[in-house]
């Protein structure tokens, strides 16, 4: 059995069937939520805070990890789901 087939079977096993448009809308809403949280988190850091630099570095680090997770896992998974449901 090829690796691709295994992955497809795994999707079948773990996720219920959803219409493509619903998947797209969900992913859109997730990305909007992350963007909003990112913006609010950045705004919530007062520049006059004594530990501003450390806190900003920490936030940037977390946001970068979030980006990495999204780009390497969520985005490909979403595309695979859409492809799978559309086929």
């Amino acid at each position: 059995m090829s690796e691709e087939n295994t992955s497809e079977n795994l999707l079948h096993l773990t996720l219920p069937h959803r219409p493509v448009e619903e998947l797209r809308r969900s992913f859109h809403d997730y990305q909007a939520a992350i963007r909003t949280l990112r913006y609010l988190a950045q705004k919530a850091l007062p520049p006059d805070d004594a530990a501003f630099e450390q806190k900003k570095q920490s936030l940037d680090k977390h946001l970068a990890r979030l980006d990495k997770f999204q780009d390497s896992i969520l985005q490909p998974l979403f595309h695979q789901l859409v492809k799978h449901e559309g086929s």
Binding site: R24, R25, F27, H28, D29, Q31, A32, I34, R35, T36, Y39, L40
Partner: protein, 479 residues
């Protein structure tokens, strides 16, 4: 002031864009809208926005950004339309572009990238507005007709916007070099100076002083300092007409100005920095003059960064069909109409001595004989008939009648042309004729001939004056 309109159902993204614009060098004013009705109401009351930002998925059951973008594009064709979304997939982007959007903005990008897109949009809107202004200006420009002039109207704005600092116009006399200068002057408008000088009209001893100025006492008669044409045109353009007539000394000075953007007035000890672009024109090929040693090669190369070649009229005879009616419409005492037969004859003349100017002057002369406002072949001067190319000319000889063969003729046209040719032939053979004599010669019933002559005059196949000279139509009743 330019406006940016932003519609989004996410107040936090509206705030984010507000922050970005506030910290940016953008001069445009941002108006943010959460409510669609308010957005449309505000647009109704304002002039064209520079940029419109539309969210794709608005949290409403009816209208979303995709529906709106089509309306906005139809209403504001120059505005820069940006669709925004948290989804970034090819199909969404493609759909937005197909509906008339100019750009797609992924909301999740960082602020720096969002600002880059807004700056790009602002620059693109400014470019569109400038282009529109230039098009409008060209539409306002009078005295333009023909394919070549229209091509120039497309090319000259590009030349003006380019980095070129010297453009040369080459064309025989009367091909429209002055018109090119007029288009430049019109497009430049009042933004910068555009000064003209006819190099051939200024004595060679004075040309350097005219172009570059002089200081007091530089030569006998220089009682005060004078600012030269190039200094006056600083920041703009100088049009050097007939540049080939410049003396060798003036050529060297001009080369120095073009090379270094520096000029030294006659008699001065110091140079001045200037920023001048040059439009030059000649009716002689500068390349040939260089080969003959009458013009400096380095100056020729410097002047011809770009060249506009105006072909002689004989190489674009198809334009006569546009030019002649245009001149007839705009000529004093007009508008005049020209008969098809007269136009055909004008198309056979080579116009090699004055091109379009010669054609215009010839038409002016022909209006003297335009009876009833119609210019017929009888108004055409004799030299045109003499020099019109014989192979196309309506010719009558004792052996045959040659007709224009360059395009297929309708049967009725052919009959009319034949009849006119036959009348002229009979007149050449017999002199002044009565209607009866002509009818007998042509073997046509007199009444038929009389009707036919009337229709020939009415349809402008022949001028009534010309016909009167050849045939006594009044003698019809006397038989």
């Amino acid at each position: 002031m330019d406006m940016i309109y932003h519609l989004d159902d996410d107040p936090l993204f509206l705030d984010q864009v507000k922050d970005i614009v506030a910290k940016s060098p953008l001069a445009a004013r941002l108006k943010s809208f959460y409510d669609l009705a308010e957005f449309l109401e505000s647009l109704n009351q304002s002039s064209e926005p520079a940029i419109i930002l539309l969210d794709i998925y608005l949290d409403r059951p009816d209208t979303d950004g995709r529906t709106l973008v089509k309306q906005m594009r139809a209403r504001f064709p120059r505005s820069f339309l940006i669709m925004c979304s948290d989804m970034q997939d090819i199909s969404t982007v493609r759909e937005c572009m197909a509906r008339g959007a100019d750009d797609f903005l992924f909301k999740g990008q960082d602020d720096k990238k969002l600002l880059e897109r807004l700056l790009h949009a602002d620059a693109e809107y400014a470019r569109r507005r400038q282009q529109q202004n230039q098009t409008q200006k060209l539409q306002d420009l009078p005295n333009l007709a023909g394919r070549t002039a229209k091509d120039l109207c497309e090319r000259i704005p590009r030349l003006l916007d380019s980095a070129l600092s010297a453009i040369h116009v080459f064309g025989e006399t009367g091909t429209g070099k002055e018109i090119v200068a007029d288009i430049f002057a019109h497009l430049i408008g009042r933004n910068a100076p555009f000064l003209r000088v006819h190099c051939g009209a200024i004595p060679s001893a004075l040309i350097e002083s005219e172009l570059f100025g002089h200081v007091k006492g530089a030569f006998t008669g220089a009682v005060s300092s004078k600012i030269g044409l190039f200094e006056k045109a600083d920041g703009g353009w100088v049009f050097l007409d007939e540049v080939a007539t410049l003396s060798p000394a003036a050529q060297i000075s001009l080369l120095r100005v073009l090379e270094n953007q520096e000029l030294r007035p006659v008699g001065a000890t110091a140079s001045k920095r200037i920023n001048v672009r040059v439009l030059s024109a000649t009716n002689e090929s500068l390349e040939e003059l260089v080969d003959e040693g009458r013009f400096r090669r380095d100056l020729w190369q410097r002047l011809c960064e770009a060249t506009i070649v105006l072909p002689p009229l004989r190489e674009r005879m198809d334009e006569i069909e546009e030019l002649v009616p245009f001149f007839c419409q705009t000529m004093r005492g007009g508008p005049y109409q020209i008969s098809t037969a007269a136009l055909e004859v004008l198309k056979q003349y080579p116009w090699q001595h004055g091109n379009i100017r010669e054609l215009r002057n010839c038409l002016r002369a022909m209006t003297e004989h335009a009876y009833g406002g119609i210019i017929s072949p009888s108004a055409i001067p004799k030299y045109i008939w003499t020099h019109a190319e014989p192979k196309h000319q309506v010719q009558v000889s004792s052996d045959h009648i040659a007709l224009p063969l360059q395009k297929p003729l309708q049967y009725e046209q052919l009959k009319n042309q034949l009849l006119v040719a036959l009348i002229r032939h009979c007149h050449a053979e017999m002199g002044y004729m009565t209607l009866r004599q002509l009818a007998k010669t042509l073997d046509i019933p007199r009444s038929t001939l009389s009707n036919k002559l009337r229709s020939l005059v009415k349809d402008a196949w022949i001028g009534s004056e010309e016909l009167r000279i050849m045939v006594n139509t009044q003698a019809e009743g006397k038989g």
